[in-house]
């Protein structure tokens, strides 16, 4: 069987601090690639049921797998291990810093499989590995706008160039909210199928304010003003005020923004002199939270929930 060429290298996985990899055996093969977005606990596969074992998936040995292997008699143990590693898996990660013996290492070496030892429990290891792999394998899309954390929700501020997105973001940061990314945001779907936004590395921390140039958020507002990534909950679309366009006057709120196949609630907010955008957005977020908690909108207040 040939190994898979597309995917994320094991060496990249070892580099992740939050996976707490403490030891690596068979280092020569860390160039193997994982080509499946979910980690797998082999479970019964170790006992010989290989049907659902996937060649591109990284395997996790928890207490169950190690416990089963350790209670087999030595002959059977060797046969099972050989059958298992002959599938040529990209790597095996052993959870909870469990000890592994020379036999496992040498059989793995024969089939070019690196073994990583992690300090984490297998459930935590599985969830962190999956979220890392999902970020890598997910469809990605770049969107123009500003992504902020306001009252714990991820808010994307969109609008034409020059309408004042960055300036509004600056006001919101000044009020104590956190910036995720200005100008270009990369979205991916996490393991819960939610769109998550991240900054582009090259322009992370920087924000363009016309008249001032490009300024560094951390230098000016401190490290607390910036977040690494955030789930997208709501979109605010800033538009030049037009007398022709009908704005939502009754708060019926049925606009959606499409990203990676998901529909995210959106508000169109017209921009005109004298409208304090940062306060408007803050209130829009609070309103959104209250509706989500089941509070009545004005229409529902007048006519009841059903007649809407």
């Amino acid at each position: 069987m040939i190994r898979i060429n597309e995917g994320i290298e094991i060496s990249k996985i070892i580099e992740q601090n939050d996976l707490r990899i403490v030891k690596v055996y068979n280092k020569k093969w860390v160039t193997n690639k994982v080509s499946h977005p979910r980690a797998q606990k082999p479970g019964l596969a170790i006992a010989g049921y290989f049907k659902y074992l996937n060649r591109g998936r990284i395997q996790i040995f928890g207490k169950t797998e190690m416990g089963y292997l350790n209670q087999l008699d030595s002959k059977k143990r060797e046969i099972q291990l050989k059958k298992f590693f002959a599938i040529k898996l990209p790597a095996v990660v052993v959870a909870e810093n469990q000890e592994i013996d020379e036999l496992i290492i040498s059989i793995a070496r024969k089939y070019k499989t690196p073994i990583l030892i992690s300090n984490l429990s297998s459930s935590l290891l599985t969830s962190r590995l999956c979220s890392l792999l999902f970020r890598y394998f997910s469809k990605k899309i770049k969107i123009n706008g500003v992504l902020m954390d306001i009252l714990g929700l991820g808010i994307l501020i969109k609008g034409d160039s020059g309408i004042g997105k960055s300036e509004t973001a600056l006001e919101l940061i000044n009020k104590g909210y956190n910036l995720v990314a200005d100008d270009l945001i990369e979205f991916y779907l996490n393991s819960n199928d939610e769109p998550i936004g991240r900054p582009i590395d090259k322009i992370k921390e920087w924000i363009e304010v016309r008249g001032l140039g490009i300024i560094n958020i951390i230098d000016i507002f401190g490290a607390g003003a910036l977040l690494e990534e955030k789930r997208l909950d709501m979109v605010v679309n800033l538009e030049r005020w037009s007398t022709k366009k009908k704005y939502d006057r009754l708060g019926e709120g049925n606009l959606y923004f499409h990203v990676l196949g998901k529909d995210i609630p959106m508000f169109d907010i017209p921009v005109a002199p004298g409208r304090d955008l940062s306060t408007l957005i803050e209130v829009a977020v609070k309103y959104f939270i209250s509706i989500k908690r089941g509070k009545k909108s004005f229409i529902e207040h007048l006519y009841g929930k059903e007649k809407k």
């Binding site: 123009n144 160039s161 020059g162 100008d183 270009l184 090259k202 322009i203 920087w206 363009e208």
Partner: protein
């Protein structure tokens, strides 16, 4: 919508000052204008966006414009690339 391919011929490529000139020019048009390089498509009116492309001398980029003044926009932007952003004589 129109699209045109342009070669970058100035020494420093799409560096900060050139990108500033480009986004400044793009902002004078009503059309939506994008610059495409490799897999990336960015808004030409956004300076930071252009800078993420890191396009350098010898690279080809595409200018895409969509709107009332799209023809003029593409022509003027191409001209800016062709005259090396007024940096070299």
């Amino acid at each position: 919508m129109i699209e045109e391919k342009v070669e970058i011929i100035n020494k420093l490529g799409l560096h900060a000052r050139a990108a500033a000139k480009l986004s400044h020019l793009a902002n004078t048009f009503d059309s939506d204008i994008f610059i495409v390089f490799n897999e990336d498509k960015v808004n030409a009116k956004s300076l930071l966006g252009i800078l993420t492309l890191a396009a350098s001398i010898g690279n080809y980029i595409s200018i895409i414009a969509d709107g009332k003044d799209e023809t003029r926009a593409v022509k003027e932007i191409k001209k800016l690339f062709d005259k090396k952003f007024d940096e070299e004589s």
